[in-house]
Symmetry: C2
Subunit: 129 residues, 2 copies
Amino acid sequence: MSQGNSCVSIGRAQARACTVREALDRVGGKWSIGILVAAAKGPVRFTELERQVEGISRRMLTLTLRNLERDGLLHRRVHPTVPPKVEYTATPMALELYESLVALTDWAERHRGAISEARAAYDREHAGQ
Amino acid sequence: MSQGNSCVSIGRAQARACTVREALDRVGGKWSIGILVAAAKGPVRFTELERQVEGISRRMLTLTLRNLERDGLLHRRVHPTVPPKVEYTATPMALELYESLVALTDWAERHRGAISEARAAYDREHAGQ
DNA sequence: CCGGATCCTAAGGGATACTG
DNA sequence: CAGTATCCCTTAGGATCCGG
């Protein structure tokens, strides 16, 4: 639905925010990251993904794979054998994306404690209503 | 719903993915980034945000502000005047987060073209069904 | 000016059963 | 093995109106 270049005609720092969302939209789903991580270390088969990405349903696995493939983040290779064999591989673009997420990982680890404290404090504060 | 430390008991590289989602969950909403960007440059009032963050509804502005405040990313200061004046400011933690997103912004800009080409190619390929 | 309360729609996502 | 197809529920989010 949201195209890539809807970041024009804003004119402010909000254009920056829009560019960020551009990236987040491709990785924002519940399962995208888990799949990308699993596919980053080489070709992975459908069933392998189903096991490695804990809790994912067959349906969501298929859907997320299709989206990632469509965005050029995964490459899908079908081996015309019986039984069928399909391998998914992260593209260079996807690997770059994953490395860009390292900064985010660091941030999350550094502030994990502060965040839950902030939440606890907020909830305490707003307990009586 | 999702607590902060649900990343244990996985044991694989998937724990990494889980940490990434930890960060994304706090910024994954449709409006969070836009609000943070606007609040990054100093105190902003409610109505200012309503104008700067284009397209946001009153309801979502309030909700997102509350969530960001609860996570310790925004500070809310109420001036007991008439009419009321409320200022929102990004906390240092939020500023760090924003800087961590720069890598993501760069990625989005670098691959913007490649992504839309990949989409076009995929859609062309899968046109006949 | 800064919201809260209510109602409603749409999108995300889970469970399950079926198929080439 | 690698998916489709269906059904259903839950959540995000928009529209609108009311209140301190």
